[in-house]
């Protein structure tokens, strides 16, 4: 049986992991290569690197780091942030990324999804959507939840998958940062309309939230989180052991 994936997400700015402080026994927790290696050895099933720099120098540092990570860690790597064209796919794939996550770049120009899927395959294109409830509907948001596009999130996700996205990351702005659990309701609504793997993001506060996610929505593929892993609140081996105890199939 294919296992449920646990995916730590690393936000990278100017070559360092943002929020990467105060972490277990690692001395230099803001070093992305060391942190990635630590996660890989802890049993992370995949890693997401999110480039939050805007400058050219920052981009260069990011791809240098990606190259270093991909040369030493042999689990799937997804890269996001600043992906606006097929040339951005090319840039990060050449540095060792396996999948590329699109968000605002695809909202501005939805054709990007199909162009990239045709060139690199559906499995390479991950549609990442920040969604929030507005007047009883889910709206697509930009800029980390600050800008409401007015687009219906379910319609956008369906369109993205029809255009060739092979996977969908659903980040609920409503639960993100609250640490009271994933947005099961929103994730259920998304799962009902697409037949590609759906990754839950936003709201994990502890081990039980992952148990509730996979017990409540057995069709979900993966859970993604950042700070609870970086701050050592949840250790991946403990998380996986607890999931297995609860009958969730994981890779130990």
């Amino acid at each position: 049986m294919v296992t449920k994936r646990i995916i730590p997400c690393l936000d990278i700015k100017d070559g360092r992991v943002v929020k990467g402080v105060n972490f277990l026994n690692l001395q230099d927790v803001s070093n992305p290569v060391k942190l990635a290696d630590y996660y890989s050895r802890s049993g992370a099933d995949e890693l997401v690197f999110y480039d939050i720099t805007a400058s050219f120098e920052g981009r260069k540092l990011f791809t240098d780091i990606l190259t270093a990570v991909a040369s030493t860690i042999f689990i799937p790597l997804t890269v996001g942030g600043g992906i606006n064209g097929v040339e951005d796919f090319e840039r990060v794939l050449a540095c060792g990324a396996d999948k590329v996550s699109v968000n605002s770049g695809a909202i501005k120009r939805p054709e990007l999804i199909g162009e990239a899927a045709k060139r690199y395959g559906d499995q390479c294109v991950v549609l990442s959507v920040d969604a929030k409830r507005v007047d009883g509907k889910y709206h697509v948001f930009l800029n980390g939840g600050r800008v409401d596009t007015g687009m219906d999130a379910l319609e956008w996700i369906k369109e993205g998958v029809d255009r060739g996205a092979g996977e969908v990351v659903v980040n609920s702005i409503d639960t993100d940062g609250v640490k009271k659990g994933f947005d099961i309701e929103m994730l259920r609504d998304v799962s009902a309309i697409v037949k590609v793997p759906v990754i839950a993001s936003g709201g994990a506060g502890g081990v039980q939230d992952f148990v509730d996610l996979f017990r409540g929505l057995p069709q979900l593929s993966a859970g993604l989180a950042a700070s609870i892993f970086h701050f050592g609140e949840v250790a991946i081996p403990d998380l996986k052991a607890e999931l297995r105890r609860n009958g969730v199939c994981v890779r130990l």
């Binding site: 294919v2 296992t3 030493t72 042999f74 690199y120 559906d122």
Partner: protein, 206 residues
């Protein structure tokens, strides 16, 4: 020296890195002389079967792979590279494969339960046939060890050449072997330590 066949398909970064991580010298090439010299050959591949088979022919690599395999050189096909080893594929039309392994490539959608996603993506456990000896590239593995899959099509009717399966509804072909020709549907270069063990065993075989 390990030769990775360059026929313009797929991203070879991880494969090269993983081979260097196990201390193997790897070159990416479509030079027949280099392939002649190589101790082992890897046929990678991502994308659609028809395009890849066309590119193999256009680069002259189709015949080179057949010749090297016939000469007894250890050959490993990975993902689409494994599917190309089979006789034919029904991915968007019918296409001829290398025919080094019996069987054909068909979509998994009709054979898996409706609630399962396509592609079959993620880490899945390997099952080895109990009635046959373990394929040498899996010598250091345990039953159920997890490897990373991403595919929507799979090999069928490979008979005794099927050396490992993974359960996704039914058991799907995860690996094949016939004499010196090996194939894995999964990505050993993305399968952590288990994957490195498989690559190492292949590089040390013979």
């Amino acid at each position: 020296m390990i030769a990775i066949i360059d026929y313009g398909v797929g991203n070879l970064f991880s494969l090269k890195s993983s081979l260097s991580a196990i201390g193997a010298e790897a070159v990416v090439t479509r030079d027949k002389a280099v392939l002649d010299q190589a101790d082992h050959i890897i046929l990678p591949g991502v994308g659609a079967f028809g395009d890849a088979a066309d590119k193999l022919r256009e680069t002259g690599m189709f015949q080179v792979v057949l010749d090297q395999a016939a000469a007894g050189k250890p050959l490993l096909g990975i993902c689409l590279g494994m599917q190309l080893l089979l006789e034919r594929s029904f991915e968007y039309g019918e296409h001829q494969g290398l025919g080094l392994i019996p069987g054909e490539v068909r979509p998994i959608r009709p054979v898996i339960p409706a609630e399962l996603d396509v592609p079959h993506m993620g880490w899945n456990g390997l099952h080895f046939p109990k009635n046959r000896p373990r394929s040498p590239i899996f010598a250091d593995l345990n039953e159920g060890d997890h490897v990373y899959f991403v595919h929507s099509f799979a090999g069928f009717d490979c008979g005794d050449c099927c050396t490992a399966t993974a359960e996704y509804g039914p058991e799907l072909t995860a690996a094949v072997q016939k004499d010196n020709v090996f194939g894995t549907q999964f990505h050993p270069e993305k399968s952590g330590d288990v994957g490195l063990k498989i690559l190492k065993a292949f590089c040390q075989w013979r």
